[in-house]
């Protein structure tokens, strides 16, 4: 055993250093170099910019929409909501009083907006990350009449906009029907601008 121990020291220390350099430094640096060259947009967070070049979001990350003028994103447990440095779920269990209380409040709010029938589950539950960029089509469609009313746009136009933004599963099986809320709301703002110009 003693011999086994002494014979292990040099290889253990030298191999740890060599692997640390290869796997802890060279590998991530090389991946960064290649990634930044081949896929610069994605490697930096798939950022969206407005006409002036200001960053207004990321195509893959959700942001808080709380105004009634916009399609609202799901409740979020990331910090105070959609905190990009504090991703988290609520971690509330199925029998937690706190979960029931929160969902009840949100359901009542949706009822007050005039949503009838079953409330789409994603509309009143927090996501795993707190940064979910999507809504189910049902959760988006449930908000159509509120958004149309507040923006004074015909409901049919808003509904058509949502339907155009539904992304379908790859090959019909991989993934879920979903709507990217940021993209939808950007299109909604454009629709309103066009609308006021009388193009309808």
């Amino acid at each position: 055993m003693g011999n086994d121990f002494t014979s292990s020291l040099r290889p253990a220390i030298v191999m740890a250093i060599l692997f640390a350099i290869l796997l802890g430094i060279v590998y991530p640096l090389a991946m960064t170099g290649i990634g930044q060259t081949l896929f610069p947009s994605q490697a930096n967070g798939s950022l969206l910019r407005d006409a002036s070049g200001k960053v207004i979001g990321s195509t893959v990350i959700g942001q808080a929409f709380t105004s009634d003028r916009y399609f609202q994103t799901r409740p979020s447990a990331a910090g105070k909501g959609y905190d990009g440095l504090a991703s988290a779920g609520s971690n509330l269990g199925p029998t937690a009083q706190a979960l029931t209380d929160r969902v009840k409040t949100d359901v009542e709010k949706r009822r007050a907006e005039g949503i009838t029938g079953g409330i789409p589950a994603d509309l009143v539950t927090t996501s795993g990350s707190g940064l979910d960029p999507d809504l189910s089509p049902a959760a988006a469609l449930a908000q159509v009449s509120r958004v149309a009313r507040i923006r004074a746009i015909p409901e049919a136009a808003v509904r058509a906009l949502v339907e155009r933004h539904v992304e379908h599963p790859i090959a019909g099986v991989l993934g879920e029907d979903r709507v990217n809320v940021l993209a939808l709301n950007q299109a909604l703002d454009k629709l309103a601008v066009n609308g006021s110009g009388g193009t309808r």
Binding site: F19, I34, D83, S87, N91, P94, A96
Partner: protein, 567 residues
């Protein structure tokens, strides 16, 4: 449940079955030390490493030497990680200026990543510098995985060799697996992830002015390079707190599928490699069949429970399955499937919050770990853990017919059975022991977020995850305290190495034995009877041991849920 959901589940299994033999063949080449096409490029690196470290890759090691070299290597890596975390504030590549990690936290994390557990008491984007993520954590993702595969190779040699003293060379095994398997796959895999939207940059964060005019700061970093090995090496330690639920770690349904496939890829390949090594690939397929039976059973239960949803929320007017803690882009099926895959293997990455699953939906991940993570299992650890159960199963079969049991040409005698029981006993001893302590002491009871039986489940899940080296959590538990950091740290160490050493002792003993050819009286270990016996032994052992604890946690929680009782 939908047809689409089941198509996904069966497509997932189908893809892996198609990849099992090719991956197994590649692993077999590494097991044998054969030359691969990659040697042309990476051969000089391998030889350079040996030369600098004074290693003779051809030198056979006894099981004792193999064990000591493996342990010392892991201790050196542990110390390196501890040092980097403690000095994080003065080391470079710390764009957000994070402070050094405290002593108990660094102790826990160093063990966690060394043991392939990747339990995380901290929130990655709010605690770890880029250098810590790379140098302290990513290296373990490779090397703990390579260590696991090397150990599986050692046990395979025990079964395959005849009257031999050595079980291979630890350094050669680890180096070859890292250079010719893990690293090349990760380069390709990492690029796929970047192309799909996973960041790879040294910027710490970016500020966003949202459409509603609020400032949102998005954490960034070298995510893709870590993400690839996190999944392939069944590590599971996320760059971000939300792990694979975070859109920057797992942006699309396609990345999600690839992540699930990569968790099982090497573990399934190793079953084939085992069969090839012992000269009968049917032995490997039999093991894989038993694993897949258990896997599909678990998947069906969790998917059913999550799709059925929470009756308490239905009573409030909410329609559909349980979406609390789940992402819309994954939905119910892919979230349920991911949770079963990640706990069947010792991965521990999550794409949905297990703490918010329905009671029975969350019980399956818990049970998967309690069975010892042998349903495919962690890279290497899954197959050597499974073979310990196979030893018990042939022993039981031998008792029934009154004959010395044999397995793949080796007589299984008292020494093997004793050592296998010793290794398997670690699980209940430390899972139930740690849970019991935490359920009576103030410091332990301070942890749970949820009250009632679900709070108990949070504690039970933590110790199960630690001892089984999984790393997933019922994350409501506040684990960043000296009590949990210390106790869980010890559990992770014991759960890894107190299994490995008896297993290597078995390998050494088996290698020294003669080959016993199959005779008319041998119990066949390839047919349906064997597969049924294996599944039965695993379920009975795990069930008898852990059913009482499950009754106090998830089962009580389920009964409360259907009665509408809140805590």
């Amino acid at each position: 449940m939908t047809i689409q959901g089941w198509i996904l589940i069966f497509a997932f299994v189908g893809i892996l079955l198609a990849l099992t033999k090719p991956v197994g063949l590649w692993l077999f080449a590494l097991y044998e030390g054969r030359r691969t096409p990659l040697h042309a490029v990476l051969g000089p690196v391998e030889r350079g490493f040996y030369k600098l470290a004074g290693i003779d890759p051809e030198a056979e090691q006894t099981w004792q030497r193999y064990a000591v070299h493996m342990l010392i290597f892991n201790v050196v890596l542990l110390l390196l990680t501890y040092a980097v975390l403690r000095l994080q504030d003065v080391l470079p590549l710390n764009p957000l200026g994070y402070a050094a990690i405290g002593a108990d936290g660094a102790f826990n994390t160093a063990i966690s990543f060394t043991t392939n557990t990747n339990w995380q008491w901290y929130s990655g984007e709010a605690a770890m510098s880029n250098l810590s993520q790379m140098l302290a954590l990513t290296i373990h993702n490779f090397l703990s995985a390579a260590t696991g595969i090397a150990l599986a190779f050692a046990l395979f040699r025990g079964f395959a060799r005849r009257q031999a003293t050595g079980i291979g060379n630890f350094w050669a095994d680890v180096t070859r697996v890292t250079l010719y398997l893990l690293l090349p796959i990760c380069v390709v895999y990492g690029l796929f992830l970047i192309a799909s939207g996973v960041p790879q940059t040294f910027a710490g964060s970016v500020d966003v002015a949202t459409l509603e005019g609020v400032k949102q700061t998005l954490g960034l970093g070298p995510v893709a390079s870590q993400e690839a090995i996190k999944m392939l090496g069944t590590n599971g330690g996320g760059f971000f707190n939300a792990n694979s639920a975070h859109p920057f770690e797992n942006p699309t349904a396609l990345t999600n599928l690839v992540q699930m496939v990569s968790i099982f890829l090497i573990g399934m390949g190793l079953t084939w490699t085992f069969g090839k090594a012992v000269g009968d690939t049917r032995q490997g397929w039999a093991i894989l069949t038993a694993m897949l039976c258990l896997f599909l059973l678990g998947t069906a239960v969790t998917y059913w429970a999550e799709a059925a949803g929470n009756p308490i929320l239905h009573g409030l007017g909410v329609a559909g399955g349980n979406m609390e803690g789940k992402e819309v882009r994954f939905g119910l099926a892919a979230s349920a499937l991911f949770s079963v895959v990640t706990t069947a293997a010792s991965c521990g990455a999550v794409n949905a919050m297990h703490d918010s699953f329905t009671a029975l939906g969350g019980m399956i991940p818990l049970l998967n770990m309690q069975l010892g993570e042998i349903v495919v299992g962690g890279v290497g650890a899954g197959i050597y853990g499974f073979l310990l159960f196979a030893i018990l199963a042939v022993f039981v079969a031998g008792l029934m017919v009154g004959r010395t049991p044999e397995y793949v040409g080796k007589k299984i005698e008292a020494r093997e059975v004793k050592l296998a029981v010793l290794a398997i006993a670690v699980l209940p001893l430390f899972i139930l022991g740690g849970t019991a302590l935490s359920a009576v002491f103030e410091a332990g009871l301070a942890g749970p977020l949820n009250k009632g039986p679900h709070g108990f489940s949070e504690i039970l899940y933590a110790f199960t995850s630690a001892v089984a080296n999984n790393g997933s959590a019922f994350a409501g538990l506040t684990a960043g305290t000296p009590w949990y950091n210390g106790l869980l740290g010890v559990c992770m160490w014991v759960g890894r190495f107190f299994v490995i050493v008896p297993m290597l002792a078995i390998a050494g003993g088996l290698a020294a034995k003669k080959h016993t050819p199959e005779s008319a009286g041998s119990f066949s270990t390839t047919g349906g009877l064997w597969i049924g016996l294996l599944v039965g032994i695993i379920l009975i052992l795990g069930g008898l041991t852990f059913l009482p604890s499950l009754a106090l946690g998830p089962i009580a929680d389920h009964l409360a849920m259907i009665r509408g009782q809140l805590f």
